[in-house]
Point group: C2
Chain length 693, copies 2
């Protein structure tokens, strides 16, 4: 399932193909100089059939002339020339190729796609692994190997962050900015087109690498979802957080989404659900990747989402309150004993609650501020501590870093320092941060997002990832879908089928008024849109009249439709909710929960999770809905039966396992959620038969 | 309406009250040294009854002993001591006092509130103007006067940005960061508690100041809404953009909001509607304030929201596409002729559309990249140009700044440079930016937010601010609200009133089926919650039956209620929308538009505008709704009659003018919006009588 990255990132022998003064705009030379700068941690050979000597080294015409087997060939030659050289190299026993050139079908052009196919063929035939093409190389800091063609990567510090970016240009820039903020790296790979080795392979390598503690990814998507999820699960099991910046909702992805029933689940949503399941922290910006990395490399789990926000700025406090709510953080008040202790230290007249503004006096009395922070950190209502802190641009500007270290060492809770906004960070600041022993984050929204991510990751570590569910339910192959659902906590309303209009009155009386009447046809149809539904019928006469009207309407709107009868259903009231399961072709089955009725699609108030899921997941999904107030006491309606809704979603996921072979999609809309204790009822069930190919 | 700030920010004579080596933790000395550092641009006197000489200057015991009238007294003394000195100063003819001390009732404590009242009394009695208390001073760069007690403000550059912050700590830090990014300032004021001089006064001063071109505010709120709106209108008329960072939804504000019918319009929403009306750019973060200021000081208006996004990074392109959509920016494709020209310059195989990724080749060939940008900027489909650009940390790192200047000078459209993420900016970078002549923005979400703000401000300058509407409609004082609404494009459904159950059948026949029946009572009631409404009644028998049921239900649920009859209404179908007008006690009447029915409050899909408004505003409001897809062709429903909805909102705002004396709130929910051409219909109208005090 995973290709080996070993000889790519930890080679003993390297050959630079296309070695010349100007080759690849100077990239060949840049690579050689980077290896030389580190004292050649691997043996480096040069290949160029038109040269015999370069940079004081012998130049070989090809791979077979090199006196020992080569682990890694770095190709700095035009796209058109790669295939021939690669074939020769494979014959000569090359293990791994790193190909920089672009134009291997990125834009979908035929010539490029054909070139890529040839490389792929060589790889499959010979077992030679390919990194790239269309990439900007990699860096292996434990091996001091810089497979990157400019000197700018030379100063990057070694550390616990492993990096995989599909984008080559952003790759180097992000590494530099991260380093400027205090991040250090183990391995960093620009994966390019991922013709052979892909994100799943690199992720698995980083999970197994001892130097790597946190893994940062930027991707347009993952090529092999199941391999990627497996690697992500291993990262979780190893306690190594994975961060993901997802780039670009591709047109292709959106096109595919439009064909889904409901059109609710775009590629984006399913990808997010996948990240959610595997505890991958999905972020929105390149800057977020830095802030969250800084916080997660600190390595302390949070017991919950309750933050103490401590500072000497009223403005920052005011701004943070609003932001914290947006990111689902709590700012609980301190215990009374904490408040008494704080009151003795902060400026006269300042309230001693959380979030805390000590007053401007403590902006210059850091020892007192540090004491304040230790007291707040010890409060039992608090899970995470965020203290105001600004990195110095010149020594002595921001007090003593040990005061921050003292706060951190006084507690086992995560501690971070927050700055109100962006600021320059220089060598002095980085040294201060290192001595302080806590991450210094910038910008309050990013601080809130980071604390939220930390709490979320900690919670998922506590919950674990569920990958299997056992069900003892036995399914008789003759059972209807209604029966399977009803056996799994999703009852349908009382109903009867009338074969034609003449049977409608009797059926309605048997069901009990008020009833709904729906046309039945063996052909697929949108009942509501064709006028095939009548609601709230109060008597048998009215029922017969309505059935006649439905026949009339359909004979006009869709004369080709054969009406095979009427479904007479007891009207059920409640909150309209939509639940469904679909089988995503890439990431597998996922469940959808949303506010139902016609509005569900228009306001897109929906939540997604990959199967299997737990009751805690369903509770989270309900909370995620913007309109979740509807589940509580609302405008005179009693609270809804949320327990029954949770059981229904769990039941639907079990039922889907049973029906999996026959059905790809199932959607219940509306599912009526009654008042607490009254349960739920599936008013309309739609399924899509599985296409067996 | 406005207090004079002149003697505060442009004094000829200054007295420092509390002058001593350690006074105010060294602040008195800090201020004196800042004046000295600039060579005393004003005459500075020292006051301290316990001293006779300090820092080589004579020290005076009080104001009356100073040999000339003093424009500005700067008070660096404890809160308790201020009142007495201020009284003496006022008697001696002091014109303006700047008071640093806190504890004037910020936390609501009685002693502080009483202290503030005394100061207020002195100000009102004598005409002495007060800045602060609880502030951190100000800076007047045209006068080279630094009313700020630390040397850190000395290096701040003069420029076109005027600043008013209520928060003192954040004030200095923001000024420093803004300067680090290349902003220069005219006047910057920390306004503190605004006991007397307030944001409206400072805003008016900055509007009239010739050096100020852009005005930046950070506020918890505005004390005098009408003065503030008047000053904002003057800023608009003067072509000076105003930026606002609003801090903290105060508990008090939220409490007040809860008492509103519907609870939809919090203080926050009304404040945002006010900003919208007066073209104030409301931002979310301190960093946004910098980015938008940089872009707006550049001074070019945009003709629309169509952006050319030009770079050499595929990652940035992918990230920006998603973000641009979120911020309502368009990325139209280039004209065919543009694409041909671009194709000849960019890397082989790269598509030449917008957003443009030229390929990594042009990352090192800046002259070619500059040509590419000029070609794209000239495209007729484009209103604003965003080019990738990174400020150098060392000279020569990012090419020639003139290449950026060339792009800017080749077009009259706004041009900005974008960086993918945060970066340090030093003196080299600032010089580069200045020579380039365009703002270098950081982080793609902020870039999108800034371009969007630029387009929005430009559009509002084109539209103008409507402050009055003329209506020729004549109102007869005997008209019902239904009649007034119906005369103003908001018809009600056909209806009859039945005095009791016996009249219900006849009334229903007269109205025509299906009908809705609603109980009428002189007492206020929530009809739906009490079971006082029956819908979709198809016959007179059913109508009578339903009326009886309603009577029964209410006699159980609310036996004290006197039923005075039944309203029989023709059932109307359509999309349920809610429209309303409320009179905000601070900012005046505003209109609400949202998706109607029970969901409106739960999912809070609503838009707000202050009155008066234009058709263009209503169109914007509809676009702002998340569920706006419901107004188009949707799930088999034809498009809605949006024109009629727009007319209804315009009509409601006219009707509100007429009813203003009697009614404070009016809400129509649901307003049924029929299919295109079918109009709208007000199914339920609620009003709140105006409380005359």
């Amino acid at each position: 399932m995973f290709g080996s990255v070993e000889t790519f990132l930890r080679p003993q022998t390297i050959a630079i193909v296309g070695a010349s003064e100007t080759g690849g705009g100077g990239w060949a030379k840049g690579l050689f100089e980077n290896f030389a700068h580190e004292g050649f941690p691997a043996r480096v050979y040069l290949i160029n059939p038109r040269r015999s000597e370069l940079w004081g080294q012998k130049v070989y015409p090809n791979f077979s002339s090199i006196p020992e087997p080569v682990d890694l060939g770095i190709f700095i030659i035009p796209a058109e020339a790669v295939a021939d050289v690669l074939a020769e190299a494979a014959n000569a026993g090359l293990k791994n190729a790193l190909i920089f050139a672009a134009r291997f079908g990125e834009g979908g052009d035929e010539a490029g796609v054909a070139r890529a196919q040839i490389l792929k063929g060589i790889s499959e035939r010979t077992g030679l692994r390919i990194a790239g093409p269309n990439c900007m190389g990699a860096i292996s800091l434990p091996e001091r190997l810089l497979f990157y063609p400019t000197p700018r990567v030379r100063g990057l510090p070694k550390g616990p962050v492993g990096v995989v970016f599909q984008s080559g240009g952003t790759f180097q820039f992000w590494l530099e900015q991260g380093a400027a903020r205090g991040l250090g790296y183990s391995y960093a790979i620009s994966s390019g087109n991922e013709l052979d080795l892909d994100m799943a392979d690199y992720l698995k390598f980083l999970v197994e690498d001892e130097d790597t503690k946190v893994i940062v990814c930027m991707a347009e998507g993952v090529r092999r979802p199941h391999a990627f999820m497996l690697a992500a699960k291993r990262a979780f099991d190893a306690g190594k957080p994975v961060l993901m910046l997802k780039v670009g909702r591709t047109a292709a992805g959106q096109e595919a989404a439009r064909s889904h029933t409901g059109a609710l689940a775009t590629e984006e949503h399913v990808f997010a659900a996948m990240c959610q399941k595997y505890a991958i922290t999905l972020v929105n910006t390149l800057d977020d990747l830095i802030e969250v990395s800084l916080a997660l490399t600190a390595g302390r789990p949070a017991k919950g989402n309750r933050v103490a926000f401590l500072g000497y700025s009223g403005g920052a406090k005011g701004l943070f309150i609003d932001i914290a709510e947006t990111f689902g953080l709590e700012l609980p008040d301190f215990a009374p004993s904490t408040k008494i202790k704080l009151g003795e230290l902060i400026d006269l007249g300042m309230p001693s609650g959380n979030p805390l503004d000590t007053g401007a006096g403590l902006a210059r009395r850091f020892e007192v501020f540090s004491k304040v922070c230790k007291i707040a950190a010890a409060d039992p209502n608090i899970d995470m501590v965020s203290v105001q802190g600004q990195l110095p641009l010149a020594p002595g500007e921001s007090g003593d870093p040990n005061l921050f270290r003292n706060i951190m060492e006084s507690t086992t809770k995560p501690v971070i320092a927050h700055n109100r906004m962006s600021q320059n960070v220089n060598e002095t600041g980085r040294a201060f941060q290192k001595n302080a022993g806590i991450p210094f984050l910038q910008r309050l929204p990013e601080v809130a997002r980071t604390l939220s991510a930390l709490a979320r990751y900690s919670e998922l570590r506590y919950r674990g990832i569920v990958t299997e569910v056992s069900s003892t339910y036995v399914y008789n192959s003759g059972d209807t879908i209604e029966k399977v659902l009803s056996d799994n906590a999703i009852p349908s309303p009382t109903q009867r089928v009338a074969k034609d209009v003449s049977e409608v009155g009797k059926a309605a009386v048997a069901v009990g008024f008020p009833v709904a009447i729906k046309v039945i046809s063996t052909q697929p149809l949108h009942k509501t849109e064709l006028g095939g539904v009548a609601l709230n019928i109060q008597s048998s006469e009215a029922a017969i009249q309505s059935a006649n009207k439905i026949e009339q309407k359909i004979s006009i709107a869709a004369p080709e439709l054969i009406i095979s009868g009427f479904q007479i259903q007891r009207m059920v009231s409640g909150l309209e909710v939509m639940i469904g399961v679909r089988d995503d072709p890439r990431f597998g089955p996922f469940v959808v929960l949303g506010l139902g009725g016609v509005l569900v699609e228009a306001v897109r108030d929906v939540a997604f999770r990959l199967l299997p899921l737990t009751r805690a997941d369903v509770t989270d999904m309900i909370k995620e809905l913007r309109g979740n107030a509807l589940f509580g006491q609302y405008r005179g309606s009693p609270p809804r039966d949320v327990d029954a809704l949770i059981e229904a979603v769990m039941g639907l996921s079990r039922a889907y396992q049973i029906l999996f072979g026959d059905i790809s999609d199932i959607e219940i809309n509306p599912l009526m959620v009654g008042a607490a204790g009254e349960g739920v009822c599936a008013v309309d069930i739609r399924t899509v038969a599985r296409q067996h190919q």
